[in-house]
Symmetry: C2
Subunit: 217 residues, 2 copies
């Protein structure tokens, strides 16, 4: 099928595409993948040759239907493995990402199907990210960012948009995890930092943090 590197590019394009409407830029890809822009240009041309992306010089790339399906398959594997590691192998949620980055490239249709079955066909991974099904359908949850709430709102944490171990450990220390109930107490206008109540404790979160926390109210 496709190389590990190609799969990583497709996944990166997929993630960046969720945030912008038009083409994904060379520089954003090179930043996310820790490579140089020149390397991205080269790879992107190869992906275009294989009909995985549409590419117009200087205008960025977009996944084709084929490329999107391929990306979804990798995302599916990544999130299933993360679920497996947390649910069955006693991993903490901040320990799984690096290993899942490796496991997501294992090629075996049967393995994915059996793993999914074994885990009880979960819809969300340990970070609250939706797991695409075998056909690439994503369970669409109407999530808001915590930063979009007003003082007085109550909500439940449903996702975290930062895979770094340091952010996830920080959340642990604050007592914030999946399905944690919170109440917004106050928002400072000068820096948009937020004071929230979690388990009877009041804590303060920066705008950067509240942007990375998804909630349902």
């Amino acid at each position: 099928m496709f190389t590990q590197s190609e799969e990583n590019y497709l996944k990166a394009i997929f993630h960046l595409q969720e945030e912008t409407n038009d083409g994904v830029s060379t520089s954003s890809l090179s930043e996310l993948l820790n490579t140089k822009a020149a390397s991205v240009t080269e790879m992107v041309k190869k992906l275009a040759d294989k009909s995985l992306v549409d590419y117009r010089k200087y205008y960025g790339v977009q996944l084709t239907e084929l490329g999107k399906n391929q990306a979804l398959s990798v995302v599916r594997k990544h999130r299933l493995w993360e679920s497996f590691l947390v649910e069955r192998l006693n991993f903490k949620w901040d320990e799984v990402h690096e290993v899942a980055e490796q496991l997501e490239h294992i090629k075996s249709a049967k393995l994915v199907e059996e793993l999914d079955k074994f885990l009880g066909r979960p819809h969300y991974d340990p970070h609250g990210d939706p797991i695409p099904d075998a056909n690439g359908n994503l369970p669409k949850a109407a999530k808001k960012r915590l930063s979009q709430l007003k003082a007085g709102n109550r909500a439940v944490c449903k996702g975290f948009n930062d895979t770094s171990s340091s952010f996830l450990k920080y959340l642990d220390r604050q007592g914030i995890g999946m399905d944690t109930s919170i109440e917004v107490l106050q928002i400072e206008s000068f820096d948009e930092s937020m004071t929230i109540k979690v388990d009877e404790k009041e804590i303060s979160l920066s705008k950067t943090a509240t942007d990375h926390i998804y909630v349902e109210d």
Copy 2:
């Protein structure tokens, strides 16, 4: 650490070393790894530079202590993953080898330890091959080849020295698996083929087959 390719070479040298006393030849490696002799020579020189093997031109290679430990670690992962696939994910024993060839290269000490714990620290994989422990110790079973038995002997199958799906499926059809009890009825002198009794049925096995079946009596 080491590349996937380097790990495959170390594992191949390890396996070949179990059958010969002195150095592993370039040609045997190239055959096992499906590469050309020239490629083996090159890689072997790199492994020697990294102190993983001892190499003398024209005399073959042998693993150093470091190389052996590394090989054992890969073998351990391969066999633990095979056990996982069969014990937990409904794989048949002839379906696991290819996938384990991929999974054995995943790098995570915690993953190996937790997987081992999850499986109840098994000593043997689905093919009866011993699983090295975390320190590289192999449970040493004094196994014989079925071909070494005489007419009248009874024994129990404890291992199979051929990873090919076709051989394992053949055994399935004959009703032979791990811990199957057998009795040797007759050995033909002209081709060393053997008639054995399995579950009240008499079947005939070639010398090639009986060489690949390990038993305990």
